[in-house]
């Protein structure tokens, strides 16, 4: 629902700023979906009279208007206060009063300047509502009422500046579908009194017209009231009324229809006005027409206000006259009985309809109106008369006329009042803090819940039932009569929600700030490291934290590390805290080899214990040992042996997945072979290493490589450093390239001393934006290759993010690649 601040202020004295008000509404549970500020137009936008409007020669729609701007100071007006303005609107004609924006005016979308059009200088622009920002209507220029004084500021006419809010009303809150309801909720939030519009006492009926009322469906129409007003004068509404409707997104039509809409927007309760003289009598010889509330006949036809014909099924509720349908109850009026300029006498309906029936009719005939929208959400029958009175008073004031006869009111079964209890103790239990009784009463009083009594708590409606004294404080309840417009409040818990909502959810005590104790990232990295090894076929081992100190020397270290020694070890071979995971893994390897296992992949994730500056530290590491087949044994598909490439792929694979950009250098561990063992780091921070274990080292574990005929490889991840370094890496989605990638192959002769990596880097550097990847698919060494060279074959993937690559572009690039390789690395084509 769209509401204008100026209109809302008629019901509540708010002086809050726009943002503050938006916050208030949102935290009262009325979500603000949009705020539209309608700025002031300023002193150069005024009411002016079009004195003449001559067609500009050789154009089909432009007119040269002489516009009277009255006393408005303007240098270039003539002695009769006239200025020339070119206008293209179809409704532009001599004699109308319009809104003129003089040169220098800044409108929402553009600035008005003096402009030469077809050789004629135009001094400003005659504006439409849309151009002024007061509605979406762009049907033509504004035609003001004839009595508007020339020179009146548009801001004054339209009540600008103003602000409108687009509100989302939840389906349970029919009471918020009108300005008064919004004001009521805000009043409870701000503890302000709302302002009720003054309804003057209606005059005694002086007219003579009569009408009959029969309600055949009291279930579907719990209340129907009808009032006749005689001798009204249908005319455009006064400017203030038009303005309010415009700012709530309604189109002004005529005074009577506008008033029914105005009262609907004010109260949330729709009304309908019929042209009395178009209503048919039941019997031909009858002196007065009839209104009959009944169900449609199957196949009965109805022409609605929208001009469309609807064929009815028979379960639609109708408001019919003596002969045919005059309205689909609560949904839309009929064309035949609608208010027109000729209407003189009106019958004003204010009624309540059963929501399900309205919803069904609206859904079935795909007719959703401001009226059906509200009736579907269940409106109370209680207020039909006061709403009718409000509209009647406005009609008498604005459209004139007199009342004929007393109000007809079919209300066979008045709504039963609802009295509910609410326990302060329950508020504390459910909402979590105490609210004292007086605060409860204040909030609920703002919502028109009237206090009844205090007593022992019972569930359900206690209207007409004695309230007994409370047994104790926990049982004590305050009883309130629930206003009829709050159909959503039926239980204690509904009242508790109102109290909490309007006291503010910010009053619910915030939990104490909980510090983050856990290092979640490190936890995940450790698990991921283990999972990576498991995915590579390795089994996890767990070994004691203390080891045999002599085992470190077996790894090839000349001196034992500075161990943390146990004072009371159980045995000498468990007398120091381990400083590496490798010795025990080799023990596990030897154990399993001794138990006839040949293909062994083991890892351990655990702590090592190091002395440090008089104290110690216990970092975590993951280490693994591999030997044998790189896959499960299969009779048809032979898996390779674990070798350099397998271990390198395993080791680097995880780091690559984490997105780490590492540097590589030879690993310096005495138990690893040279040339096949490498350590990885980022900015000097170790990530780990992999390498082949020297056969003499293995002998210390009684593993004889001559007999085993398998290589033994190890890797180690410094999981703590990896956790630290990967902590900052965040993944950002990259658009998927829209243009195809192209692959080119390159076979080259590479000097033996030039590494693949060098070749790859030079190729990538040639054009980083186009060359996506380089990968080797063959390496070849033979006597046919010139001495001191080897042959490498590479796939090169090229892709442009912006367009499809042409052959010429690729060829040019490949020539450049060849040139670079030749010049920098002495690499030639094969």
């Amino acid at each position: 629902m769209k509401i204008a601040l100026s209109w809302l202020k008629q019901y509540l004295d708010i002086d809050s700023g726009v943002q503050e008000l938006s916050q208030l509404l949102t935290f009262a549970g009325i979500e603000v979906e949009g705020i539209e500020e309608i700025p002031a137009l300023g002193k150069t936008v005024i009411a002016a009279e079009v004195v003449s409007a001559e067609r500009v020669p050789k154009t089909d729609h432009l007119r040269l208007c002489m516009v009277n701007i009255g006393d408005m100071p303007y240098d270039e007006k003539d002695e009769n206060n006239l200025i020339p303005v070119i206008c293209g609107a179809p409704n532009c004609r001599a004699g109308i009063k319009a809104v003129l924006a003089l040169p220098g005016t800044s409108l929402k979308d553009f600035k008005i300047k003096k402009a030469k059009i077809r050789g004629i200088v135009s001094h400003g622009m005659l504006c439409s509502e849309k151009e002024l920002g007061i509605s979406d209507s762009h049907g033509g220029i504004i035609e003001l009422e004839p009595d508007v004084k020339i020179g009146t500021l548009a801001d004054e006419i339209y009540g600008l500046p103003d602000v409108s809010f687009e509100l989302e009303i939840t389906p349970d809150r029919s009471d918020l579908l009108g300005y008064k309801g919004i004001a009521r909720d805000l009043s409870a939030k701000l503890l302000l009194k709302t302002k009720e519009p003054a309804i003057p006492a209606l005059p005694k009926p002086a007219g003579t017209l009569k009408i009959g009322l029969t309600n055949l469906e009291p279930k579907l129409c719990p209340r129907y009231t009808l009032r006749i007003i005689e001798g009204v004068k249908i005319a455009p509404s006064p400017q203030w009324l038009q303005n309010t409707l415009l700012k709530s997104g309604l189109r002004p039509i005529n005074n009577v229809v506008d008033i029914t809409n105005y009262v609907m927007f004010e109260s949330g309760h729709p009304l309908h006005a019929f042209d009395y003289d178009k209503l048919a009598t039941k019997e031909d010889n009858q002196s007065h027409p009839d209104i009959i509330v009944r169900l449609a006949e199957p196949k009965e036809e109805f022409i609605a206000l929208d001009g469309k014909k609807y064929i009815l099924d028979g379960d639609e509720l109708l408001i019919a006259d003596g002969k045919s349908p005059s309205a689909l109850a609560g949904v839309m009026g009929g064309q035949g009985s609608s208010i027109t300029d000729e209407t003189v006498n009106i019958a004003l309906e204010s009624a309540a309809f059963e929501p399900g029936s309205v919803r069904k009719t609206s859904y079935k005939h795909k007719l959703s109106t401001d009226s059906s929208y509200r009736f579907e959400r269940h409106l109370s029958a209680e207020y039909a008369v006061s709403i009718s009175d409000r509209a009647t008073a406005l009609i008498l004031e604005i459209a004139g006329g007199k009342l004929a006869g007393e109000l007809l009111d079919s209300y066979p079964q008045p709504e039963e009042p609802v009295v509910l209890g609410v326990r302060p103790s329950r508020f504390e239990l459910l909402i979590g803090y105490e609210m004292d009784e007086s605060r409860m009463k204040d909030i609920l009083a703002s919502l028109n819940f009237s206090y009844v009594a205090k007593g022992g708590f019972e569930h359900g409606n206690r209207h007409g039932i004695d309230i007994l004294p409370a047994q104790d404080e926990r049982d004590a309840a305050l009883y309130f009569k629930i206003p009829g417009f709050r159909k959503d409040v039926t239980r204690e818990v509904d009242i508790l929600e109102e109290l909490s909502r309007l006291d503010g959810y910010d009053k619910v005590p915030q939990p104490e700030d909980r510090q983050e104790i856990m290092d979640r990232h490190a936890y995940k990295i450790n698990n991921a490291a283990s999972d990576w090894l498991v995915a590579h076929g390795a089994f996890e081992t767990l070994n004691y934290s203390f080891v045999d100190p002599s085992r470190m020397r077996c790894l090839g270290y000349e001196d034992e590390p500075d161990f943390i020694r146990l004072i009371n070890p159980q045995s000498a071979n468990q007398s120091v805290m381990r400083t590496s995971l490798i010795p025990q893994l080799l023990t596990n390897l030897a154990y399993n080899l001794n138990h006839s296992e040949r293909d062994i992949r083991l890892f351990e994730l655990g702590r090592i214990y190091l002395k440090q500056d008089g104290s110690h530290k216990e970092p975590k590491r993951l280490a693994a040992v591999f030997t044998g087949s790189a896959g499960e044994m299969h009779f048809a598909k032979k898996a390779g042996e674990i070798d350099y490439y397998w271990v390198k792929g395993c080791f680097e694979g995880w780091l690559n997945q984490l997105g780490l950009n590492y540097g590589v250098s030879p690993a310096e561990h005495p138990y690893l072979t040279e040339g096949e063992s490498f350590a990885y780091e980022i900015d000097g921070v170790e990530l780990g290493y992999f390498g082949r274990v020297l056969p003499p080292v293995l002998e210390a574990w009684d593993i004889d490589v001559q007999i085993l005929k398998q290589e033994v490889w190890v890797l180690e991840y410094n999981v703590e450093n990896i956790a630290e370094i990967s902590r900052k890496i965040s993944r950002v989605y990259q658009d998927i390239p829209r243009y195809p990638a192209v692959m080119r192959d390159l076979s080259i002769l590479v000097p033996l001393e030039v590494s693949y990596q060098k070749v790859r880097d030079y190729i990538l550097e040639t054009d980083r934006s186009l060359i996506q990847s380089v990968s080797p698919f063959d390496e070849y060494r033979s006597e046919q290759i010139p001495q001191g060279f080897r042959s490498l074959s590479l796939h090169i993937v090229l892709q442009d993010q912006e367009k499809t690559l042409t052959d010429e572009r690729i060829d040019t690039l490949m020539v450049l690649v060849q040139k670079v390789l030749k010049e920098k690395l002495n690499v030639s084509m094969r």
Partner: protein, 341 residues
Amino acid sequence: MQDQLESLILEAEQEIEKCSAPNDILNVRAKYLGKKSVLNGLYGRMRELSKEERPAFGGLLNSARVKIEAFLESRSEAIKQAAWKKDSSGFDYTLPGVSLSRGGLHPLSIVRRQIDEVFMSMGFEIAEADEIEDEFHNFDALNTPKDHPSRNLADTFYVEGGKLLRTQTSTVQIRVMEKYKPPIKIISPGRCYRNDKPDPSHSPVFTQVEALVVDKGISMIDLQDTLQSFARIMFGTKVKSRIRPHFFPFTEPSAEMDISCVACDGQGCRVCKQSGWLEMGGAGMVDPAVFDTLGIDSEIYTGFAFGLGVERIAMLKYNIPDMRILFENDLRMLRQFRGEL
């Protein structure tokens, strides 16, 4: 003429039958139906015939064309099918498939992850601290008397420099409470050490998970609730839990936690020594003296703590008879837990 056509059809049929690739079909089609084919030539000779003879001759030519087309079509379809239909005669489908060679986690890690998950889903955080500890955090702060026997060399491993290997992960509670203010809701899984000779139910190195909750309004209800939830998630919804009075220096009241025997559903068996219950660990409400040492106001905050033995849970869950098996790292044991979640 008719004979000539008959033999042409026969010839075409034989040649089509020999086709084995889509290209062969194209060639044969060109030969028999193409522009320079005999059949096409015969169409040209229609002009030489009288008006009366033409329809009959045309009919013959057309039917020959249709027949050859049909042979080509069926052969082409056969070639297509042969391309993907495998001859499955003699294929031994019982030979094993190629399996991805995945390894597996150690059963203790599996159980630890299960425990982590249970508690993390209940909003616990995981906290860790060093295993090499000082006496203050391992004993004093936990309200252990100076002359308590657990401080003996026979019970506790000491290292050079006056430190010791922690005997329980309760040390982490102390370290966390020193550093962080309540509310605290942590578990601390990790290694502990006691000077026990390895035997079926003891190991000098073992794994504990301790839970600690400190907040306003924490009572024994919360302890019971957490314990019950844990037992049900770990061992199934039929499992019952109970606490019974016990003594620990750092909790007051103190309790031992039992769960109904998972082997016999509490009926009484060898595993539970006929009692129907299995001991899971110690528990209790944090002793105010512990809070006082750490400067936490024990009038405002209360808390509970309990400790579980991971080895014991793993042994119960997987029916492992001897704790030493868990530290042998024999692949024949490890492989049994491949794929366990």
